[in-house]
C-alpha cells in the first residue's frame, strides 16, 4: 500500500521553536529520508516552495482561470510531501510520526489509489 505523507506546518508554530531546535530540523529530515529509503519504505518526496509562490488554475467553459496563491487559505501550509510504501496504515503512521514537522505541524496520511 502506498501513502502520501502531506506535511503541513504554520509559520507561527515554527517561530516558537528555539534556534537550536530550528537548526536541528534540516539534518533530521536528511536522516529521515536516509533511513526510510534504506528500509525500502521511501518512494519519493520533495520540499515545496512557500504558498506565496503558488498559482491555482481552473478550467471553466474551456477557459483557463489562473489565480495567485494556494487553493485554500489556511494557517497551516503544505510545505512538502513524501511517498512511502508500507503494509498498512499503522506502519505508515509510525513512519509519519518520525517526520520532524509532526512535532509542531501535522502530517496528513493519504492512501494512494493503486494503479
Amino acid at each position: 500500500m502506498q501513502y502520501m505523507l502531506l506535511i503541513y506546518q504554520s509559520d507561527a508554530e515554527f517561530a516558537k521553536l528555539s534556534d537550536a531546535e530550528k537548526a536541528a530540523i534540516s539534518p533530521e529530515y536528511g536522516k529521515f529520508a536516509r533511513t526510510t529509503s534504506q528500509s525500502g519504505h521511501l518512494k519519493g518526496g520533495n520540499e515545496l516552495k512557500g504558498p506565496s509562490s503558488a498559482t491555482t488554475l481552473r478550467v471553466r467553459n474551456d477557459e483557463s482561470v489562473v489565480t495567485d496563491g494556494p487553493f485554500a487559505e489556511t494557517k497551516e501550509q503544505l510545505v512538502g510531501y513524501f511517498v512511502i510504501e508500507t503494509k498498512d496504515l499503522d506502519e505508515a503512521l509510525s513512519i509519519a510520526a518520525r517526520i520532524p514537522s509532526a512535532r509542531f505541524g501535522a502530517i496528513e496520511v493519504r492512501p494512494i489509489v493503486p494503479r
Partner: protein, 444 residues
C-alpha cells in the same frame, strides 16, 4: 435487545425438538463469528453477509439435526463456505481473487474449526480495529456496537437519538475507511498498546455514559445501553485478563449501574446520591464491582484514572447510609485523580468532596479558586455545585442566584425540575430568615 443468557439453545429433552433461540444465539455469538470471518475474508461487508447466511442456515438445520458440538465453529465454517460460493460467482472481481484463492486453499486442506485461541485473538483484533484512532470517535462507537455487540443499525440509532440513515452512513463510511486506508486487522504491538487500549476503553465508557447520563425519555433504551457497555467491559476483561485498568473500568460501570433503580424516582426525576434509597442498590453487582476494584488496585502499577474513579464509586457503595460516607477518602482519591487527568469535572468533584469532608465553606473556597483561574469553563454543573454549597451555608439569596444561573445552562428536563425545586426552597428561605441564622458558616 434481550437479556444475555449463557445457554444459546435449551437442550432437548426426549422427543421435543429444541426451541431455537436465534436472537439469543445471534447476540452471544455474532461478534465472535464475525471477528474470525473478517480475518479470513479480509472484508467487513463480505463477512457480515456470509455470517447472516450462516445464521439462516443454522435456523434451517439445527432444529432437526440438533445443536452441533461447537456451534460457533459450525457457524464460521458454514459462513466461510457461503463466502466462497459468493466469491466464485463474482470471480470477475480481481480485488477478491486473493481472498478466493485463500478460501479455496483452506477448503482443500479440509480445514477444521477455528481453535479457541484463534477466536480469542480475532475477538481482540475486531475490537482494536473498530476502535482505531484513524476513525472518528462516533464511528468507533457505532462500529463497535454493530460488529462486536451485534446490535442492529436501528437499535444503535435509537439509543443515540440519530436518524437511522445517518447512522447507516456512518457505518458505511467507517468500513470504507478501514478498507481504503488499509487500517490493519490486528492487535497493536506492545509499544502502542497503552494508547490504543485507552481508545478502546473510552469507546466502552462512552457507550456506558450515553446510557447513564440522560435519565429522561427512553429509560429502557438507555438501560440497555448500560448493559451493553458492561457486556463489552466483561468481554474485554476476559480477553485481556492482565490489564488492571480494564478490570477497573468494568468495576466502575458495575458500581455506577448498581444504583440504576434508586437514582430515578417514579416521575423520572434524578434522585441525588445523598437521597437515594440504598436498599434499592444492586448489592450483588456492588460485591462484584468491589472485588474488581480491589484486584485492580492491588496490581503493581500505579492506579489509572478508571481505577481511581472506581475506587471513589466503591467508597460510596460501601456506605450503608449517606452519613457513613468517608468523604476524606473520596477527597483524597479525587486529588490523586487530578494529578493524572486535566478534567474540569474532576476538579469540580474534588471541591464537592472537600465541601463534604471539611465543610461547605472550604468547598466554596476551592470552587472560587478554580473560577478565578478560569478552569471550569462553560459547564452547567459549576453553578449548580456552587448553589448547593451556598445553600448549605444558608446564604439563601446567593444560592437562589446560582440556581437561576444553573437553570439557564441546563437542557436536561429532569435536571431542570430538580434545580427549580431547590430554587423555590432557597427563595422561600430567603424570604423568611429564621432568628440566629444568617451568613455564618454551617459546618457539619
Amino acid at each position: 435487545m434481550g437479556a444475555v443468557s449463557g445457554d444459546i439453545l435449551p437442550m432437548s429433552h426426549g422427543a421435543e425438538p429444541p426451541a431455537l433461540n436465534l436472537e439469543g444465539l445471534y447476540r452471544d455469538e455474532s461478534g465472535r463469528v464475525l471477528a474470525t470471518l473478517i480475518r479470513l475474508l479480509g472484508d467487513f461487508d463480505l463477512a457480515e453477509e456470509a455470517m447472516q447466511e450462516a445464521f439462516l442456515a443454522a435456523l434451517r438445520h439445527w432444529p432437526h439435526e440438533g445443536l452441533p458440538e461447537r456451534p460457533t465453529g459450525w457457524l464460521i465454517t458454514t459462513a466461510r463456505r457461503k463466502a466462497l460460493d459468493q466469491l466464485r460467482r463474482r470471480t470477475w472481481l480481481a480485488a477478491r481473487r486473493h481472498t478466493l484463492e485463500h478460501l479455496e486453499a483452506l477448503e482443500r486442506r479440509g480445514m477444521s474449526d477455528e481453535t479457541d485461541e484463534d477466536m480469542h485473538d480475532d475477538a481482540l483484533r475486531l475490537i482494536f480495529t473498530c476502535c482505531h484512532p484513524a476513525l472518528a470517535t462516533e464511528a468507533q462507537v457505532a462500529l463497535t456496537l454493530r460488529t462486536v455487540c451485534g446490535l442492529s443499525t436501528e437499535e444503535i440509532s435509537h439509543a443515540f437519538l440519530v436518524p437511522v440513515a445517518t447512522l447507516a452512513q456512518r457505518l458505511v463510511r467507517a468500513k470504507q475507511k478501514i478498507r481504503e486506508a488499509a487500517i490493519p486487522y490486528c492487535v497493536p504491538p506492545r509499544e502502542q498498546l497503552p494508547d490504543r487500549l485507552k481508545a478502546v476503553m473510552l469507546v466502552i465508557y462512552l457507550v456506558f455514559n450515553e446510557g447513564y447520563a440522560a435519565s429522561s425519555g427512553e429509560a429502557r433504551v438507555r438501560q440497555a445501553l448500560c448493559a451493553e457497555a458492561i457486556r463489552l467491559g466483561r468481554h474485554l476483561a476476559k480477553l485481556m485478563p492482565h490489564e488492571p485498568e480494564v478490570r477497573a473500568l468494568l468495576a466502575l460501570m458495575l458500581l455506577h449501574d448498581s444504583r440504576r433503580d434508586a437514582r430515578v424516582d417514579l416521575q423520572g426525576d434524578i434522585v441525588l446520591l445523598d437521597d437515594q434509597d440504598r436498599t434499592r442498590w444492586d448489592h450483588r453487582q456492588i460485591q462484584e464491582g468491589l472485588a474488581l476494584v480491589e484486584s485492580a488496585l492491588r496490581a503493581r502499577v500505579p492506579p489509572g484514572s478508571y481505577a481511581l474513579q472506581a475506587a471513589i464509586a466503591a467508597v460510596h457503595a460501601q456506605a450503608a447510609r449517606t452519613s457513613d460516607t468517608d468523604w476524606h477518602q473520596i477527597a483524597d482519591l479525587y486529588e490523586r485523580l487530578m494529578r493524572i487527568t486535566d478534567s474540569p469535572v474532576v476538579k469540580l468533584n474534588h471541591a464537592v468532596a472537600v465541601g463534604m469532608a471539611d465543610g461547605p465553606a472550604r468547598g466554596l473556597e476551592l470552587l472560587n479558586a478554580l473560577e478565578a483561574r478560569d478552569e471550569l469553563g462553560y459547564y452547567h454543573l459549576f453553578p449548580a455545585t456552587r448553589a448547593d454549597l451556598l445553600y448549605r451555608l444558608e446564604r439563601w439569596d446567593d444560592a437562589a442566584d446560582a440556581y437561576r444561573q444553573a437553570l439557564a445552562l441546563t437542557t436536561n428536563e429532569a435536571e431542570q425540575r430538580f434545580l427549580r425545586r431547590r430554587l423555590l426552597e432557597a427563595e422561600a428561605r430567603a424570604a423568611t430568615p429564621a432568628p440566629g441564622e444568617g451568613d455564618r458558616d454551617a459546618c457539619d
